[in-house]
Every structure is written in structure tokens, then in C-alpha cells.
């Protein structure tokens, strides 16, 4: 029998994982919703900020360099996202899905090789920033303060995204782009610009997640494709194109994984795939997905 304080700690750990998964997957799903493109290079936008942060703040215990590094990383990768949209994706929107998939898949390898050239293959580590590096006692068990920060970040990003999509001009333009790009263009909106901005928001979300997660993981080549698989599962469960769906999918995967570790550790990695299969059998376009138009 599992003691209930352990279950609470495990649930909080699950929420921490869910929070990061949501931020990454919301970017993936936003880009798919707006442009109908699966961006395979989304994982690269998650890996690069971690490497940038490790370069700026690796091996230091100070807090300032961490936050400066985090902001620099997010800004740089967001701009990189803009460059990718204008340079590559814009040219292939009217092509078939396979071409788009292959083009962004090629970017995964190009970015991975470039990272290897820039930073090498050695493991890197970023310490948790000062001020957030302690532990809180939760029902007699220690829980990292930084994980509460990550949970809070997930909630903040969710709220921010909702406000962006519901309350701003860019937001309604993106939603209109999802519904009917031709009509949006006919209304005199620069659809290309909206696409670029939406893609940059997607890159920003991946970058924010990668930089924020960096202190808890090993920064090394391969973290790009690793997160892509998880983010993709989350987005598919939630329904590609739906940000609310991504939040729901992340919560399901996060808690499924956490419960799996507690109840059947040897099977925990199978749990998330099981969840995906179950959802797809019942609802082929995901929990909140809109069927392909």
C-alpha cells in the first residue's frame, strides 16, 4: 500500500512534468493549428536554449546569470524560429504534408549537427538558481522549491496563452487563420505575417520550456528528439491544434507517468503509450481536436 504523503509528492512531481510538457506541446499544437504543419524541429527549439543557458550559467551558483541566460536564450531561439519560418516553412505551406514533414525533419538533423559543432557532446549541467534551490516540506516529505516554480510557470503560460488568443488582435487573427485562411486574407490581413508571428510564439514556448527545465535535467545531444516524442503524444492526445487540449493531454500524461512510477515502476514507460492508444481508439482526432478539414 502506498502511503498518502508519498502519493501527494508523486502527484506534485507529475504536475511538474505536466507543466513542462504543456508548454512544449502548446507550441507544437499552436503551430499546427495555425499552419497545418507538424514542426519536427520543435525539439531543437527546446534543446538550444538549454545549451545557451549552460554556456552562460553552467557551473555557477548565482541567480543573476541564470535569469539573464534564460532571457537571452528565449529571445535568441524565438528569433531563430522567425528565421526558420521565413527561410523554410513559408516556401512549403502549399506542398503536401510529406514534403513539410521531411523539410522540418531535415532541420532536426541540421540543428543537431550545428549544436554538436558549437557545444560538443559532453554532458552539461545548469544549477538551480539561488533563491529557488531549497526544499519545502510537504506532509513530512521534502519537495524541491524549483518544481513549484515550474508548476507556476505552466499555469502562467496557460493563462497568458489564453489571454493572447482570446483578447489580442494577433490572437483572433491566429484563430481566424485556423478556421479560414482565405477569408482572413480577403479581410485585408497580412496572413504571412500572422503565420510568422504564430510560429515565433511556438518557438518561444519551446524555448521557455527548455530553459526552465534545464536545471533539472542532463543537457546533452538527443534532448531534442526525446522531448519531441513526448510533446507529440501530448498534442495528439489533446487534439492537434487545440491549446486547451494540450493542457489536458499534459495533465493526463504527467499524472499517468507519476502514478505508473508509484504503482508499477517497471511498466511506467508503457503507460503513456497506453494512454495515447486508448484516447485514439475512442476519439481519433484527440480529446479536443477538430477533424482534418
Amino acid at each position: 500500500m502506498v502511503a498518502w504523503p508519498d502519493a501527494v509528492i508523486q502527484l506534485l512531481s507529475g504536475l511538474t512534468a505536466a507543466s513542462i510538457l504543456f508548454i512544449v506541446a502548446s507550441g507544437l499544437t499552436l503551430v499546427f493549428g495555425a499552419m497545418r504543419v507538424i514542426n519536427m524541429a520543435h525539439g531543437s527549439f527546446y534543446m538550444y536554449p538549454a545549451f545557451i543557458l549552460a554556456t552562460v550559467a553552467g557551473g555557477t551558483a548565482g541567480g543573476d546569470r541564470f535569469w539573464v541566460g534564460l532571457m537571452a536564450a528565449v529571445v535568441l531561439v524565438t528569433l531563430l524560429g522567425g528565421l526558420v519560418e521565413v527561410g523554410v516553412l513559408r516556401r512549403i505551406y502549399d506542398k503536401e504534408h510529406l514534403t513539410q514533414l521531411l523539410a522540418t525533419f531535415a532541420l532536426v538533423y541540421i540543428f543537431a549537427d550545428l549544436a554538436l559543432q558549437l557545444w560538443g557532446g559532453a554532458y552539461r549541467s545548469v544549477p538551480v538558481p539561488a533563491g529557488l534551490d531549497g526544499q519545502v516540506e510537504v506532509f513530512g516529505r521534502a519537495f524541491p522549491v524549483y518544481n513549484f516554480f515550474l508548476i507556476g510557470l505552466g499555469v502562467a503560460v496557460g493563462t497568458g496563452l489564453w489571454l493572447l488568443l482570446q483578447r489580442t488582435t494577433l490572437g483572433w487573427q491566429v484563430r481566424a487563420l485556423v478556421e479560414d485562411p482565405e477569408l482572413l486574407a480577403a479581410a485585408g490581413v497580412n496572413v504571412r505575417r500572422v503565420g510568422t508571428l504564430a510560429f515565433m510564439v511556438g518557438a518561444l514556448l519551446a524555448a521557455l520550456a527548455g530553459a526552465a527545465r534545464a536545471p533539472g535535467i542532463t543537457i546533452a545531444p538527443g534532448m531534442d528528439t526525446e522531448i519531441l516524442v513526448d510533446a507529440f503524444i501530448v498534442a495528439v492526445i489533446g487534439g492537434l491544434g487545440s491549446v486547451t487540449g494540450a493542457a489536458l493531454g499534459a495533465l493526463i500524461i504527467g499524472t499517468f507517468q507519476a502514478a505508473g512510477v508509484l504503482l508499477a515502476a517497471e511498466w511506467s514507460s508503457a503507460f503513456i503509450y497506453l494512454a495515447m492508444i486508448l484516447v485514439l481508439i475512442v476519439r481519433p482526432s484527440g480529446l479536443l481536436g477538430i477533424p482534418e478539414r
Binding site: I9, G58, G59, A61, A122, Y123, R124, S125, P127, V128, Q135, R141, A142, F143, P144, Y146, N147, P215, G216, I217, T218, A220
Partner: protein, 177 residues
């Protein structure tokens, strides 16, 4: 602990957050791929082991190797750098002795041979051509080494191969026939 590399690095960082290292005494392969990455995050006082930590092998040749490696890559050599270098030295010695680049004669020449390398002589035992190399076990220092910039191992105990390697008989018993 029987995880290593990136998995152990991630484990170390997350376990630290949950206060793991205050509650148990852990032992694991925190080697030279991890200690320079972890620096002050390394779990001080816990037991670590490594197969070729350059700071524990006190020969002039290794010192020179470390100096040149550092000059070329601006990094300290990991055990894999040192093991790789001595492996190539061993292979080159075998090629010279066999007078051939072919695998079989080189293997023949190396079986049971004692080969001079930068870390001293290494014997490859005759029965299965395994190199007899010790393991270095120590506790992780509380503060970074002033020159290297990361914590090294202290109170190092050298476990000699005859005490930690499977005997020839023992190894053969486990091999499929």
C-alpha cells in the same frame, strides 16, 4: 547505483531536490564525464568510482598527456580519453610485434602480453584477452579542486584487477558454448 552517464546526472540533480543525499549514503559511477559538469552540484562525501581518473594515476607520461590534452581541447581528459589513448598504444604495440595490420595476428601477439603504456604496463591475460586494469574508488570532495575547477575523488582506494575481475575459469563458465 547502477545507472551512469546522462541518466546518473539527471538522477543526481533531481534526487538532490528531494533531499536524497542527506538521507542515504550512495555509491555510483560519478566519473570524469559527470564531475566537471556537476561541479558544486556533485554529491560531496558520497562514494564514486572511475576506471582511469587522470588525477590518481601518477606517472610522468600521464601528466604530459593531461597537459597536452588540455592544451588541445581546453578540457580535462575523461577516463574514456585515457583508456582510448592506452588502447591505441596497446594496439600499435601489437601491430609492431606481429608485423601485420591483420586482426588475428595482432590479437595473437597481444594475448598474455605485457604492454608499456603511458599509465604503466598493462597485461592482457591470455585466456580471454581482457586488460587487467584497476578501478579507483573514493569519496567526492566537498569543494572544487583549485586547478581542475571540479571536485575530484578523495581517499582513493585502488581495487586491483585480481580482486575485482572474474577469474579466467569464472568467465569461461559464463560464456555460451
Amino acid at each position: 547505483m547502477f545507472i551512469y552517464g546522462g541518466d546518473l546526472l539527471t538522477f543526481t540533480k533531481q534526487a538532490k531536490g528531494y533531499g536524497f543525499f542527506e538521507q542515504v549514503k550512495a555509491g555510483g559511477p560519478w566519473d570524469l564525464t559527470l564531475l566537471p559538469a556537476l561541479k558544486a552540484e556533485a554529491p560531496a562525501g558520497h562514494v564514486a568510482w572511475s576506471r582511469a581518473p587522470f588525477f590518481a594515476i601518477d606517472t610522468p607520461e600521464v601528466k604530459d598527456f593531461v597537459r597536452r590534452y588540455r592544451a588541445k581541447y581546453n578540457e580535462w581528459p575523461t577516463e574514456w580519453s585515457l583508456l582510448g589513448y592506452t588502447a591505441v598504444q596497446t594496439w600499435a604495440w601489437g601491430v609492431q610485434k606481429a608485423g601485420s595490420f591483420d586482426g588475428d595476428p595482432v590479437a595473437e601477439a597481444l594475448a598474455g602480453a605485457t604492454v608499456p603504456t603511458i599509465r604503466g604496463s598493462i597485461t592482457l591475460r591470455k585466456c580471454d584477452h581482457q586488460a587487467e586494469i584497476p578501478e579507483y574508488i573514493g569519496t567526492i570532495a566537498a569543494s572544487p579542486h583549485p586547478e581542475y575547477g571540479f571536485p575530484i575523488l578523495e581517499n582513493i582506494f585502488v581495487a586491483h584487477p585480481e580482486r575485482i575481475m572474474l577469474s579466467c575459469d569464472g568467465a569461461q563458465k559464463l560464456q555460451p558454448r
